[in-house]
Amino acid sequence: MSRVNPVNQYLRMDRMPHIWCSGCGLGTTVNCFIRAIENCGYPREQISIVSGIGCTGRVAGYLKLDSFHTTHGRPIPFATGLKLANPKLKVVVISGDGDLFAIGGNHFIHAARRNMDLTVVCVNNFTYGMTGGQLTPTTPIDAISSTSPYGNFEEPFNLPFLAESAGAVYVARWTTYHVKQAARSIREAIQKNGLSFVEIISPCPTLYGRRNKLGDGLAMMKAFKENSAIVNGADTREVGLDFKGKIVCGKFIDREKPSFLDMYHTTMAERFGPFYEPYEGVQ
């Protein structure tokens, strides 16, 4: 007798098989995410997922939740509108490094600045997978991509440092090797009030791995295991990534700050006094 995998109920099984390559870290990430929402204390009807475009952009389409596959780089402002229209929703953005930090970088820093109550999960595979492996703002120096064929010479973003600087209240990084920790961090991030950010370092053996001679998916996972160090509370200035260098993982930031909606309530209650009806969405 075969037992049905418990994560299946959270997947649109009528859309399987998925489009991701073997060895890709996205399946693992989706698994972590499902474990996180199973244990986060919110009913699944209350959780919405928003993705942009790219390999990670397809996550929304496979999850059996209210799910939105939007435009390239813009899942965060879509999620912002969704959250503000119905603040009871828990809105999670899952997208890739190119989507969130190249074309969508401005939206990320402003969502973090406002402390919009969203969870942003960035699956960072250092490349644009869907379009054939081009340079992204996280591609390490010296790494080869199809648009940096002689090696990347641009300084990449250190995403946890960027998130912290812009105002995120929760910042963590794990690799797809660290499934338990990643699931826990995503759960904590969802439970957090304000902009929470989780970076998942993920292998792309088909493009990034192959071009940089990093081996297959398994070899890349092995490298994650061997090269990573868990330093909870690490100074985010020190966690930038080098090509083949150490990957510092952990929960770096967990702090309290009023969210956009908290500040909105406070300001309007002060301004309108007893005439203010707390904004609870437009339902």
Binding site: G61, T70, G81, N86
Partner: protein
């Protein structure tokens, strides 16, 4: 459904078009606005920022127009009626999300207070140069609805109409204002809430599991759901099937896009609003829209004083374009004159539709101000004279 009295400032007001647009949105039930300030539309969001907190609405000033134009769509899928407000340069940035709204069939309103372009152009001066952009600006095939108010009163009335049309057809609706109507102050009458007709969102009554997000039925317009109601639905900007799932082939694409286009084209007669004056026995008909229609009105008065038979057809909806009505008129009208604050955008459409059955004369103007009534008047005279000559030739033949 009648308007929620909470947002309705019933009474006679002396308002500019931008402020009237804000009041129209409130009367229509809009409770979410995302925007980015840009002259000459800024007064709309300024009033919204001041008015919304006391009527249970939410205004957020986003980091740019791109963000604004998709935040409103998130809000719609969360249950809100939503709009964004901008001017030409901002509308250019929003174009990808006009396409998204068309594809997801997100009912929402884009207000464009037009200024002179291209590029930064003349920020504080009027133009009507975004008419083709409003229609064709996003990639691919889709339809939108565009309305052209010519007074602050119409900025109020047509903002309500824009929301109602958006809900009825699940389509992005463009309110094509311009700097002149936006910044012009006149009397605006806001009716009692019980006298304002508001189209509610049409939600499915089907149970989760049965419901298909893009099953349209005979009406061609599918029913909606919103996040949080347990439908666990999926929507995507990719070509999709009735389930909302990506469907990556030519047949599915034809089905998907054909309906987006046909739901508007097949209902064009119900959507189109025109204002016609003395077209029945006219020899020359002036076709105009927005602020230019008022200047044209003055020119027509001058021409009638000369004894010319001049009619006026005002496009309240610019898109869809009233092809049938114009073709009918072309059967007895000798010439059309189309003044607009651009170098000939709607004129191209008129020419296409008339197919040479009548003469067509543009009255182009780069914007920065409105036409001199004299310029339109002279064109009417020329058209009348020229068309008579043409007639004689035809008779001689």
């Amino acid at each position: 459904m009648k308007a929620d009295p909470k947002g309705v400032l019933t009474g006679a007001h002396f308002l500019d078009g931008d402020h009237a647009c804000c009041e129209g949105a409130l009367s229509a039930g809009c409770r979410f606005v995302a925007g980015y300030p840009i002259t000459p539309s800024t007064e709309v969001v300024e009033r919204i920022a001041a008015r919304f907190p006391s009527v249970g609405g939410m205004f957020i000033q986003m980091e740019d127009e791109i963000a604004s134009s998709i935040a409103i769509q998130g809000a719609v899928w969360g249950g809100a009626k939503a709009m964004t407000v901008t001017s030409g340069p901002g509308l250019s940035l929003m174009m990808e999300h006009v396409g998204l709204a068309a594809m997801l069939e997100t009912p929402c309103v884009f207000v464009d207070v037009q200024r002179s372009g291209p590029s930064t152009g003349l920020p504080t001066m009027p133009a009507q140069g975004d008419m083709m952009q409003a229609r064709w600006g996003s990639h691919g095939d889709y339809e939108i609805i565009a309305l052209c108010p010519n007074s602050p009163q119409e900025c109020y009335d047509l903002t309500i109409a824009a929301f109602n049309l958006a809900e009825e057809y699940r389509v992005p609706v463009m309110l094509m204002m311009d700097e002149c109507v936006g910044h012009m102050t006149e009397k605006v009458i806001i009716p009692k809430a019980e006298d304002i007709e508001v189209t509610p969102r049409r939600y499915t009554t089907q149970k989760p599991g049965k419901y298909l997000p893009y099953q349209a039925g005979r009406s061609e317009i599918p029913l909606m759901v919103k996040a949080g109601d347990g439908y666990l639905f999926h929507v995507t900007g990719l070509t999709h099937d009735e389930r909302g799932y990506p469907a990556m082939n030519a047949e599915a694409h034809d089905r998907c896009v054909r309906r987006l286009v046909e739901k508007i084209r097949n209902n064009a007669r119900r959507i189109i609003r025109l204002e016609e004056t003395d077209t029945a026995d006219a020899e020359v008909v002036v076709v105009s829209y927005g602020i230019t229609s008022r200047v044209a009105g003055k020119a027509i008065q001058m021409a009638r004083a000369d004894g010319l038979k001049v009619g006026h057809l005002r496009l309240i909806t610019a898109w869809p374009f009233p092809e049938k009505r114009l073709r009918t008129l072309a059967s007895h009208v000798k010439a059309f004159v189309l003044p607009e604050l651009n170098f000939g955008q709607m004129f191209l459409e008129l020419q296409r539709v008339i197919e040479g059955k009548s003469s067509c004369y543009p009255v182009p103007h780069a914007g920065g101000t409105v036409h001199e009534p004299e310029a339109i008047y002279q064109r009417i005279l020329y058209a009348a004279r020229h068309s008579r000559l043409k007639d004689k030739k035809e008779v001689a033949r």
